[in-house]
Each structure stands twice: as structure tokens, then as C-alpha cells.
Amino acid sequence: MFDKVLIANRGEIAMRVARACRELGIATVAVYSTEDRDSTVVSYADEAVHIGPGPAKRSYLHIPSIVEAAKLTGAQAVHPGYGFLSEDPDFAEVCAQNDLVFIGPPADVIASLGDKCVATRTMADAGLPILPGSHGPVAGPDDALAIAERTGFPVILKAAAGGGGRGMRVLYKADEVVDAYKTVSSEAGAIFGDSRLYLERYVASARHVEVQILADSYGKAIHLGVRECSVQRRHQKLLEESPAPHLPQEVIDEMGAVSVAGAKAVGYVGAGTFEFLVDERSEFYFMEANCRIQVEHPVTEMVTGIDLVQEQLRIAAGGRLELEQSDVVNRGWAVECRINMEDPDRSFAPAPGRIESLVLPGGPFVRVDTHGYPGYRVPAIYDPLLAKVITWAPTRDEAMARMDRALDEFRATGPGIRTTAGFLRRVLANGEFRSGVYDTGLVARVLGAGPTDDN
């Protein structure tokens, strides 16, 4: 195992990684920007290195500073967390060149899975079901039209390098296709520096369900079941649960099996996620693979009892995956709520500030992952995530009742501060959510229903 690991991230995930390291007896190095000099992980870690000013490009995305910080402190490995450099194949490559272990898959795996067209083709070859469509970059507007007509409307045009809901458009009629192609392609070029698009069938009532996998560097891979991530606002997840309600066990098993096959096909190493679109008939289609630990990984941990970050560390250190597929036993139900520093009454506008008092929920089967503390000045320039509240119970209804109790206990106050905790309680109270029969349109419907019409 490593003696010392550098954590190339900030916020709650930096604390998450530091805790896993401490439990394994690994010393930690935090890196921080000037904005984050008072952050929890800076005092929690065994060492901390100031790597640059606030803007991420000059600190958390600045590869030379991070690599030098690792070398100066003698860290043997770098944990990238999520976001920032976590899925940057160049960073993984530079780590390797500098004798640092990048805690994640090899650079070439990140590169191939990061290109949606390549990833889709690879996974189709590995036997994963793919939505009807272009299965690769569309050659031009005329090609787009031809493929759309073959696929059948509605269809969706998406940037090959896209993500987070940007660079995509749903098309309902043939006469929209040519103009839309030109617009989305130039948008994609401007945003991602890559104007290639692909096109596929658009599923109106779609669920976003993902499979957690673990693979070691000796070719062994297992899956840890699914997470339901359909509670999204503008493609940002707000709440996740595991398992996925009303998804038959045989579908979950099949999604797991094809994900393991996909991971093996690309030589995946570490913890990874296979995202699927699930339609009304529980048919599933591969969407993309993520090469990082996910924000929502705790729900999988709570139902399986497996610490995913510890597994990442063991695998990166060259350990063999000791878990067999049969060791992964799902128990009960878990749900995670992301508490963001945003104002739900002002279109989720950022609402950061200095936290004067912070009351976190506690008691049975409640877990909180946060970097917040009373007196913490939340920087405005980063991700609005303040805390993840996770609850577990034997059944979904009990887990949701427990989450409602936990969110009610949560308090973060200070000048100008608002959080999404209250809004998440509205989601929990929504009849559609409670039934477990919901899709990615749920949040828009909850918002449309207004604050007094929840049930």
C-alpha cells in the first residue's frame, strides 16, 4: 500500500479521500488554492501545499504545480477525486511519466472513454445495447437527416465531447434537422473545441441509471449494482438512490454483467461507472462510462458495505480485487441528497457566503459528507456542493422518511446563504417520487407544481 497520497481536489471529496487514507494508515497531502486556505482538508491532511490562486486553471487544473507538490512531499500517488483533472488523460499520462500513480484507469482508457463516439462504438462491439442512431460522428447535416429518418423521430443531437447538458438538441421533425445540426455543431466547437456531433433516438420518459464497477489491474472486474440518478435539474443530479425503484432484479443483473464485460473490453482499472438510459419498458442503452469516483458513490457504499475509495486505493497500489461478485450483497435502500449553496426560489442562483452556524443531521443510519464548518467562508468560484446527506433503511419508504427527518435537522445559516435542503424535502414529498415511478422530467414537474402543491 502507499505510504503517502496527494489529494488533487477540494471540498467534500477531498475530505472523503483523506478519511479513506487515514483509515488505511496512509499519510495525506492536501493541495489548495489561495481561496481554499481555510478549508477543512488543509487542516485535516498531514501536509498541505499551496499550489496557486483561486481560479482552477491556475491551481486545481494546473498540472505542473500538482505534480511538483507530489514530488516535493514525496507522495507516491495522486487521487484526483471527481471533476478537475479526474478524467484528463494528459494528467494521467504526466503522472505516469513522473513515477506517480494516478488513482484511476490508464490514460488511454480515459481517452477512449472520454470520446463518446469512440466509447459508443467500443461498447457496442463489447455487446452493450446502444440507442439506435449514428453510433459515431455524423458526417454532416445531410447525413444527420438520413440517420434521423432511419432512426425515427424524435431524435437527439449531441456533441461528441459534451456533458452537463450543454451542446444538445431534441428534434421532432425532419425539417428541423439541417439547421439544428449547424447550430449545435458550432456551439459544440465553441464550448468544447470539438464540433463533432452524434445523433440517436430520443427517449421522452427516460431514466438515468448507472452501474458501479470495480476492476483490478489483473483483469478481474465486478459490479456493485445500480444507482438511480433521474432526479436532475438541467442535467445536474440532485438526489440519487440505490437500488433503482421498480427495476427488475434480472435487469439490474444484466446491466451489471454487460458493464463488467465493457470494463474488461477496454482494460478498465479502478472504480468506474457505466451510465445507461432506461426507457419505460426497462430496456436499457449504454450512454457513457465515467472514469472517476462519482459524487453519488455513497449510496452504493451504504447498500453493499464496500468502501469504494479504499478499493480505489488498494487497486491503484497494485492489489488484487479480493471481492468476488458473490460477495456483493445488496442490503436495504440508500438515498443521497446533495445540499447545494443555491437559492431554489431564485432559479437555483448561487448563494454562497460565510456559514455562521451549521447543524448537521445525526443519529441512526445517517451519513454526512461535508467540508463545511461553522465560520467557513464558502468560495463563490467553485462547485456549490456543501454537503451530501445519505440515509439508509431496510426499505425505500423508510429510507425516504429517514432522509426527510435528516434534511429537517440540517441548518446552514449566515448572511446571504441559502441551500437546497428545503427543496429536496419537496422532492421527497412529491407523490410521483414517492411512488418510485419517475423519470428525468420529475424535477421540472416538481418546480412547475409550485411550493404549495407537492402531493
Binding site: T34, R37, D38, T40, V42, S43, A48, V49, H50, I51, G52, P53, P55, K57, R58, S59, L61, H62, I63, P64, S65, I66, V67, E68, A69, L72, V94, N98, Y373, G375, I381
Partner: protein, 178 residues
């Protein structure tokens, strides 16, 4: 994030730093004036002006070492990391040329060569004052302002973090050179 985009391949640019440097001495003077006007000593004084932060804590005599809040713990860690900025005997403030990145700091182009600058030297903005080796690349470090070198803070071959003082500038020279 209105700051201009800077390429990671060119990490030794310091755009925007000029704009952030304000008169530390002035802040310290204000702090002292403020303190002089206080009837009784405070336990905490914190003055922040843009990116300059002057924070002073006075320990209570009754505080036991082990009993401390995480905030105190953090302060202590912070003090270890940020170089102490002591004021000079005559009450003037110190100014420093600081590190624009993380790496190993060298005084000279190669072992045995003359250092780029020595105590007493007058530097111009943009003048090379050292090298930071990061990822086996030798990145020139340039003075971001004018002044006379009063002391060498960071030794040749020592590791540096972002923002660490490399050279102290003589206080009296600052206005002169500016």
C-alpha cells in the same frame, strides 16, 4: 471568474497579480492605528483588503494546549505555511518577490553560475530573478515589480510553494523605484 484565461503550458505568467498587490504597509499602518485607538487589547484582529490579509491573534493565558478548536488548529497550520511577515524595526513594512508556482527554486542558471540577483541589486519589473524547476522544466521567474533586494529568503535548491517569499525588497526603495 473574469480573470483572463491563462494556459497551463505557460505557468509563469503572473497577470492579475499586479492588480492584487496593494499596499500592505498601509494596511498594517491602519491596523496599528486601529489598535492604538482601542481601549483594551482585542483577542482577534483581522483586516482584509483585496488579497492582503492581516490577522493577529492574542493567546489567552488560560488556554490549555490540547484544548483548542479546529479553527485554532487551522490557524497554526496556516502560520506554518504562510511565511511570517514581520514588520521592520523602524515600523516600515516588508515587501517580497514571491513564487509564481510550485517547484524547486534556483538562484542561477546552472550550478556554479552567477546568481541572477544578489543582495543590494536593483530589479526592474520583468527582470529574471531565478528559476523554478517544475516537471523537469526550467521556468524563469521574473520580478513583478521594481525594488532593491534586501535579503534572500529562499535558498538555492529549496522547494517552494505558490506565493512563498523568494526575496525581500528593501522598504525604502519601493517608493523610490516605483
Amino acid at each position: 471568474m473574469n480573470e483572463p484565461e491563462i494556459s497551463p503550458a505557460d505557468p509563469n505568467r503572473t497577470d492579475g497579480v499586479d492588480a492584487a498587490i496593494i499596499d500592505l504597509a498601509q494596511v498594517q499602518r491602519h491596523a496599528v492605528e486601529l489598535l492604538a485607538q482601542l481601549d483594551r487589547p482585542p483577542s482577534n484582529l483581522r483586516i482584509q483588503a483585496r488579497e492582503i490579509l492581516v490577522e493577529i491573534n492574542w493567546a489567552e493565558p488560560t488556554v490549555i494546549g490540547e484544548v483548542r478548536s479546529i479553527e485554532v488548529h487551522r490557524e497554526q497550520r496556516e502560520q506554518q505555511r504562510t511565511q511570517p511577515v514581520a514588520d521592520t524595526d523602524d515600523g516600515g513594512a516588508k515587501e517580497f518577490l514571491t513564487s509564481p508556482g510550485v517547484g524547486v527554486f534556483y538562484h542561477a542558471r546552472e550550478p556554479g553560475a552567477e546568481p541572477f540577483v544578489s543582495v543590494g541589486a536593483v530589479v526592474r519589473p520583468g527582470q529574471q530573478i531565478g528559476i523554478i524547476e517544475a516537471m523537469k522544466l526550467m521556468i524563469p521567474v521574473e520580478a513583478d515589480r521594481a525594488g532593491r533586494i534586501a535579503a534572500v529568503v529562499k535558498g538555492n535548491g529549496e522547494p517552494v510553494e505558490y506565493g512563498e517569499p523568494l526575496f525581500e525588497l528593501a522598504a525604502a526603495e519601493i517608493a523610490e523605484a516605483a
